[in-house]
Symmetry: C2
Subunit: 203 residues, 2 copies
């Protein structure tokens, strides 16, 4: 039987993931992680050389979770590849509602907080963003000629991510979903315009 992945390591990652999202990276002390995970400092530093490595571990976990936790459920719930974009945004919206607009995108938060200070972390955050954009790009390509031939699908996939992150950011301080909803409505209008344009091209 293969040795089970260290459950201590998992417990630390679980707790750190949650606390980094709730309070940010710098604001989360090692001692808090230790207390809430029920682990002692030596164990943590046995599993991770330092706090930065712990953050990298958290980011790799987000990477691994993207497909099974985010994308697969969306694809199962919505067959239309273009509509999946808005199903994804609605899923994100419901997350915001559930947390009272207090949290945000864990990746986005870290991107702005630590991308300069901890250079080793930057590529990991970038990989997370790339994965999101790649997954959305697959949907856009699946849509085929329902988008105009001239439409840069990679740029559009990036755009979806941009709208999601930018909208979320404003929700954090506005304490209402209005900025997010307004932004998604504009994106919807844009995609509709693209659809109409593609319809014209197909005749």
């Amino acid at each position: 039987m293969p040795a089970p992945v260290s459950e201590t390591r998992d417990k630390i990652l679980d707790t750190a993931m949650r606390l980094f999202l709730e309070q940010g990276f710098q604001a989360t002390g090692i001692s808090t992680i230790l207390r809430e995970a029920g682990v002692h400092s030596g164990s943590l530093y046995h599993a991770f050389p330092n706090k930065e490595a712990l953050l990298v571990g958290v980011l790799q976990r987000y990477q691994a979770g993207l497909r099974p936790i985010v994308m697969d459920p969306v694809e199962q719930a919505e067959p239309d590849p273009l509509e999946r974009i808005f199903t994804l945004l609605a899923w994100y919206r419901s997350n915001m509602v559930a947390t009272g607009c207090r949290l945000g995108c864990p990746i986005g938060n870290l991107a702005l907080e630590v991308s300069d200070t901890y250079p080793a972390v930057r590529p990991e955050i970038d990989k997370n963003f790339e994965n999101w954009a790649d997954a959305i790009l697959e949907w856009l390509e699946e849509a085929g000629d329902r988008l105009p031939a001239s439409c840069d699908r990679r740029a559009l996939s990036r755009f979806v991510l941009t709208v999601m992150e930018g909208g979320l950011m404003q929700v954090r301080t506005h304490d209402s979903l209005e900025p997010f909803d307004q932004s998604v409505a504009q994106l919807r209008a844009y995609v509709e315009a693209l659809r109409v344009q593609a319809d014209g091209e197909r005749q």
Copy 2:
């Protein structure tokens, strides 16, 4: 002659503004601000009750600077109200180039870093975002019937801010302007589609 506004206070605000942008709020120690401003701790705590109040002062400074430093130059350089959107985005882009994609939007950074931790700061950040959206909204209303009647101008102004912030966020970790440029190109395509639609309505 009216007494000059405390130059010590100004020097502290200047330095704090720069350091908060370069390193973030939490990562910037009071001692660093003191050293770089050439001021002693007593003077800082004479001008500000605590670090949070200093941050509020910085945010009020950004608010005051929006029109004279950002919007007025754009309006002077570009007469077409719709084109001003992209002049503004280009101005932001040039800022990114000048800093090697290392910094970002100072307001956006703070929004994600401290909006939960320091509740007194949240409204100040929100006011900054609102000011940006309000200024852009003026341009959109100036455009009159060059936008479709059905176009929600407030939502569109919000959308511009969303694209700017969301694009910038990804640039930070991607270390290239591609995500920003791609997002702006999509926004450009959307605005063009709105223009065409409005043209049709005007006949």
